[in-house]
């Protein structure tokens, strides 16, 4: 799955012909060279804290070392390392040539990952980092490059600080969504997170859950797995838990304007989760009287999914069944640049999908959900 492009491909922009409403990539990962990139927007106190203790995720390793080592360094495409040095997607000019121009991306949504301070054990540090990462997005990426949109990074374990950060960015057209990681310390529908969703709905911003993060709990509900391949599989289960929690806690009943976008979570599992919720809700309604509608209806109305990584059935048409069950208007295109499992827009969608469906997935659906 590792992608290495030949130079000839880079010369010819590779926008798929079906992308007549534009090509919107909802998952690009800009990366800081290191903490120093954020220094201009960190107070002296937090800069010094960052030097002495650094980010402390809810697992034991330091220095950004993940508990499950990636399949390759930084999980990045080998050809995404800028020739001038630095890490993949740390250099705007290289990203322009290697990705935006090469693939004809009209709008790219940035989802900054670590070091972003999200999910840090220290709420104060997490809030300081979120502010700095958002300022860094504006200064380094969004103002210089009109094709890019940012995500409001929030210190989601501190809902009040998150809501404040969202309100600070409300109305700034550079930002198109609020970003959380899929592994939160408690299920995402828990009332402790509601101020985040209230502020996002108020600002008219969808809330994106990007696969990743560390909840502090075992990565499965039956304990810690052993392998990276399992961790990748468990991104799907954690997102299933989050959808279930958001629905069952009644978040969407409370905030009818809230939109949730699942990024890099896969999507083929969503119909089964909805069916399961419907089926057992019918028997357990009395426990959750705040749920007035069938969970599948709520999911259909409030949840969007993104393509990469698309599940890969043995029989291609099975994927179409699932996409139809989710709703063709709910699927957004994503590349996951610069990661190793990047999807090339020209090859990602099954050619058997009708042209107007591909058009909507490539661009139309994202334009509508983000109001681009």
């Amino acid at each position: 799955m590792n992608v290495i492009q030949s130079p000839s491909q880079l010369v010819h922009p590779g926008k798929p012909a079906a992308a007549t409403l534009g090509l919107v990539d909802v998952d690009i990962h800009p990366r800081a060279h290191g903490m120093a990139d954020y220094k201009p927007w960190l107070s002296e106190r937090w800069w010094s804290y960052a030097q002495e203790y650094g980010a402390r995720a809810r697992h034991g390793f330091t220095g950004g070392q993940p508990p499950f080592p990636k399949a390759q360094p930084l999980a990045c495409r080998r050809d995404a390392w800028p020739p001038g040095g630095g890490t993949p997607a740390s250099d705007l000019n290289f990203l322009r040539g290697h990705h935006l121009d090469a693939h004809g991306i009209d709008i790219g949504v940035l989802n900054p990952l670590q070091p972003s301070g999200q999910g840090d054990r220290n709420n104060g540090f997490s809030a300081a980092m979120a502010h700095a990462v958002n300022e860094w997005q504006l200064e380094t990426w969004l103002r210089p490059e009109p094709r890019l949109r940012g995500s409001v990074v929030v210190p989601y374990e501190d809902a009040a600080a998150s809501a404040a950060e969202i309100r600070k960015r409300a109305g700034d057209p550079n930002f198109c969504q609020v970003l959380m990681m899929s592994r939160t310390a408690e299920p995402a529908g828990n009332p402790r997170y509601w101020p985040i969703y209230e502020a996002a709905a108020e600002a008219g911003l969808p809330v994106a859950f990007h696969a990743f993060g560390y909840s502090g709990w075992a990565m499965t509900n039956t304990g810690w797995p052993s392998f990276y391949i399992e961790e990748v599989s468990e991104h799907a289960t954690s997102c299933q838990n989050q959808v279930t929690s958001l629905v069952v806690e009644g978040v969407f009943e409370r905030l009818p304007a809230l939109k949730v976008v699942l990024i890099e979570c896969g999507f083929a599992w969503l119909p089964s989760v909805a069916w399961r919720l419907d089926r057992h809700w019918r028997h357990l309604k009395a426990e959750v009287p705040h749920l007035r509608r069938a969970p599948s209806e709520v999911i259909r109305e409030h949840i969007w999914v993104s393509t990469q990584p698309m599940e890969e059935p043995e029989v291609g048409r099975h994927l179409k069944d699932v996409m139809g069950w989710i709703g063709w208007d709910r699927i957004l295109f994503a590349t996951d640049y610069p990661h190793w499992d990047f999807d090339d827009p020209r090859a990602a969608l099954p050619a058997t999908l009708p042209e107007e469906t591909r058009r909507d997935i490539y661009g139309g659906n994202a334009r509508r959900v983000y109001g681009l």
Binding site: I229, P309, D321
Partner: protein
């Protein structure tokens, strides 16, 4: 239920009313501990006794309990659904016990209770050997102790335990299963060593019940990637009360990731979907499909790409369906013989051709 097919009910749950029911099967020391320490019951939050899911309303007795006698099983499940064999999967909370010695004592008592109070009272009954995974050696001993009684047809663990089931520490259990022709049954429910989700404790029982679906995915991922299925190709794994319809999407994702990073688990030398079709079976109550869309059921069955994987179960006394609608709607008539009987015979070697078998 088609009358011509003698169905095999692969998942029914006898319920233990209280610890005093197990007292006759405990030795003197543990019988004394139970009394002296006030251990009155082991009911778990996976199955709150009074919750509507745990016992179907019309299957409760005047005391509000149910599933506590062979007579009730006969009248409510065996006879109305025409089953000539049923597999008992006791769900009493022995897996939650933290003291391994206590867990082993209580689990042995539970298995002896099942044998004396149920198996001995109706020749149509078979049972699972509940395993005390708190002590792997003791779990193997329990298989060795009970396997000579061929009415025990499976070893039983919960979907949410201490560690994922593929881990090598569990392999002696699988060796014992293979030695005795016992499938490994994995049933919904938790030993509460971890929250019900990888993102923490859920607020509502509905969420908790749904989260079993994630546990089954994690367990299968572990059994596949650790190499347990590959190491024990004769072993069948039966997923009980899993909901079923999550399986295709799970395999599509795992299969794709395996293509990308299989260097990490080089012993997995076949696509996960193939391993699963060969070795994994699932009971169909519940079957989490849209109830008003038979076309969807047909497509889900197509996505499974096998007619051999699904086993019928009533899941008595859990409330999964009303009246006698024990076969999920939408299953084609051509599949019923396999679903209701043939697949179970192919899965459980002890149901085939030996003494006391059909």
């Amino acid at each position: 239920m088609p009358e011509a097919i003698r169905a095999i009910d692969c998942d029914v749950h006898p319920m233990v009313l209280s610890m005093s029911a197990l007292a006759p099967y405990l030795d003197e020391f543990w019988r004394d501990q139970v009394v002296e320490r006030g251990i009155t019951q082991l009911d778990g939050q996976s199955w709150p006794v009074n919750a509507p899911k745990t016992i179907r309303a019309d299957w409760r007795n005047a005391a509000g309990r149910g599933a506590d006698t062979v007579e009730a099983l006969r009248a409510q499940a065996l006879e109305p659904f025409g089953a000539d064999l049923a597999i008992l999967n006791p769900l009493y909370g022995v897996q939650m016990v933290l003291n391994a010695d206590m867990a082993v004592a209580f689990t042995r008592a539970l298995n002896d209770w099942t044998r004396a109070e149920w198996l001995d009272r109706d020749p149509r009954l078979r049972a699972s050997i509940v395993l005390p995974l708190q002590d792997i050696g003791a779990a193997v001993d329990e298989i060795e102790r009970l396997a000579p009684d061929r009415r025990f047809v499976q070893a039983l663990v919960l979907a949410m335990g201490d560690a994922p089931l593929g881990k090598r520490q569990f392999w002696p259990v699988y060796e014992a299963c293979v030695r005795h022709g016992l499938p490994l049954g994995v049933h919904a429910g938790s030993a509460y060593r971890h929250p019900q989700t990888s993102v923490g404790w859920t607020s509502w029982y509905l969420e908790e019940y749904v989260a079993n679906q994630q546990a089954f995915q994690s367990q299968l991922a572990s059994l596949i990637t650790e190499g347990a299925l590959g190491k024990f190709p004769e072993m069948k794994v039966v997923l009980l009360e899993s909901g079923v319809t999550w399986l295709p999407a799970f395999l599509w994702r795992l299969g794709k990731t395996w293509k990308g990073v299989r260097f990490e688990v080089p012993w997995v030398d076949r696509p996960p979907a193939e391993l699963v079709r060969d070795q994994v079976r699932l009971t169909v109550q519940p079957f989490d499909a849209p109830e008003d869309d038979p076309g969807a059921v047909e497509r889900i069955l197509d996505h499974l790409r096998s007619e051999d994987m699904l086993l019928w179960a009533s899941d008595w006394p859990h409330w999964q369906f009303d009246g006698d609608a024990a076969v999920p709607p939408g299953f084609p008539a051509s599949l019923l013989s396999k679903l209701l009987r043939d697949n179970a015979l192919a899965t459980y070697s002890r149901l085939r051709g030996e003494e006391g078998s059909p």
